[in-house]
Symmetry: C2
Subunit: 157 residues, 2 copies
DNA sequence: GCGTGATAGTTGTAAAAGTCCATCAATTTT
DNA sequence: AAAATTGATGGACTTTTACAACTATCACGC
């Protein structure tokens, strides 16, 4: 990528639009993360990593609950689970309580992947933001976004 | 969407990972924005709005410069310009100085769309974040992200 | 118990984005 | 003048994502 100074370029109203910065940050951090996760079954897309962790940390979690937590519809979630299962990362078993429902369980292979991804994700986020945001500001940022995240869930409900 | 409380759900390391919150915020704000922009030629995808504004505000800007600014490769940028041109929003003319290059110019129709989109984008961002982040925190957030954005460009270069 | 409506999950489809690579023309460098 | 670089386009491919249709099951009220 070439050096194109941002000073002097007129970004119009985007200059003062929060959503613009969120969107740019996302695309860059996501691209960077995908490179780190290359070949790891969870690269690309926003929900795969969260889904893997949730299944790892909440044995028996159901696809529909998962869908709401990763903010996707059931069909998209189902396809993620299909690919997880095809790669031997999880198992879907019929629920004893509700014959419509399934329950997701991590496999040893899935747990191993989760451990690996855990390390990568944390490391990547730290490395990425350390280059562009001072540590004290990162703390502030995290606080604001964390509260916003929880409020988002309340509001959406 | 149903009420699924986030309290009590274990998000694993994501709980303290900045990239996670950035990614979630992005997906929500982008989805919300797309709904607002429905049918407007610039919905979906991250670069279209920025590209339109840049062409509007910088007459004669070249596709390759545009590509670097919207953080896409030339091929993807070209396709955005194709669709803009097909919809009569811009014109690409041969550059007088460099016969390889093109120069992009907004059309009246494109300028009208830019004006409309400008209003929507600002309004949407404000409305979206007002629901989940107090105004004073929004100011702080904007400052941090703005600095991060410019540093990102310096670092990437 | 039975019907209505909601819920769980799958499948199909369609649209679109992003990336990679090859190609071609024009320009700059040495 | 040859080589390397840059600007732009085109094709192919992978993935994501949303939307709607469909089956099966459950829950509630009467």
């Amino acid at each position: 990528m070439k050096a194109v100074p941002t000073h002097g370029i007129d970004l119009d109203v985007l200059e003062n639009t929060l959503s613009f910065y969120i969107r740019v940050m996302d695309s860059q951090v996501s691209r960077n993360l995908d490179q780190r996760l290359d070949r790891l079954e969870v690269a690309r897309g926003k929900g795969k990593i969260t889904a893997l962790f949730l299944i790892d940390g909440n044995p028996g979690i159901r696809p529909s609950v998962l869908a709401e937590l990763i903010l996707k519809d059931r069909s998209a979630t189902g396809r993620i689970l299909d690919s997880f299962e095809a790669h031997g990362l999880i198992e879907r078993r019929d629920s004893a309580k509700d014959n419509r429902a399934l329950e997701c369980f991590i496999t040893p292979k899935g747990a191993a992947l989760a451990a690996k991804v855990r390390a990568i994700v944390v490391d990547q986020s730290t490395a990425f933001f350390d280059r562009i945001i001072p540590r004290d500001e990162q703390t502030v940022l995290m606080g604001i976004l964390k509260r916003a995240y929880h409020r988002l869930r309340e509001v959406e409900a």
